[in-house]
């Protein structure tokens, strides 16, 4: 399935744009999403960490994504 991905901060620089789409198998987990991102964009492995938010909430590695989810790549935050 095709899933929409948004990127912010340095993640936007790494993927080369704010919004994109990636192809994942049905029932893919966040863990698989992160692995796929690191394979396609090796610069993600250089980050202190990165998280994935789904529908405006952080989700852990075991979370299963669904068609229509909006995934957001959250590199280390630095507000304040």
């Amino acid at each position: 399935m095709k899933v929409k991905i948004l990127a912010f901060g340095i993640a936007k620089d790494i993927v080369g744009g704010k919004a994109g789409e990636m192809e994942f198998s049905e029932h893919a987990t966040i863990s698989q999403v992160k692995t796929a991102l690191s394979e396609k964009y090796p610069d993600f492995d250089k980050l202190a960490k990165f998280s994935i938010a789904v529908n405006e909430s952080y989700q852990d590695d075991a979370y299963v994504i669904s068609e229509g989810d909006e995934l957001v790549i959250i590199p280390p935050v630095s507000g304040g």
Binding site: F8, K46, A53, E56, V72, I74, P76, V77, S78, G80
Partner: protein, 138 residues
């Protein structure tokens, strides 16, 4: 009793104080984070803040909810700036009032510490010779 704003316009300390000001409270604590002229000895020229706004608002709301539950905060104002900031500009204001003063400090400090860990906002620091996304790399 919770006022959360993410804005590209300059922030106002007195606006946040006026919001939390309450006759039921004896203690008001405020934290104001401003743009420093240097980072680890290197001169900063300006900053950019980028926010994933809908989620940032939700995460700030969670922080405020915890301040109410854990420290009986009566009113809370959390304002964060986005866009380009010059030296000395205000990046964030947290204001909270509680019946007694110790709780106001603890709640305020919890809020800024947690905001810096969980709220999806990113700071890019510009130096004379380039720019970096803060905290991105180990």
């Amino acid at each position: 009793m919770i006022d959360i704003t993410i804005s590209s316009k300059p922030l106002s300390v007195s606006q946040c104080y006026d919001y939390v000001h309450d006759q039921r409270a004896g203690g008001n604590a405020l934290f104001v984070g401003t743009v420093r002229d240097q980072t680890q000895g290197k001169a900063v020229v300006r900053l950019d803040f980028e926010a994933y706004k809908p989620m940032a608002i939700k995460e700030m709301q969670k922080i405020a909810d915890t301040m109410v539950e854990r420290w009986s905060a009566l009113k809370i104002s959390i304002h964060h700036r986005t866009g380009t900031l010059e030296l000395g500009d205000i990046a964030v204001i947290i204001a909270v009032c509680t019946p007694h003063r110790k709780a106001s400090f603890d709640a305020c400090q919890y809020a800024i510490d947690t905001l810096k860990e969980t709220v999806p906002i990113w700071k890019k620091e510009y130096f004379e010779d380039g720019a970096v996304w803060v905290a991105a790399h180990p």
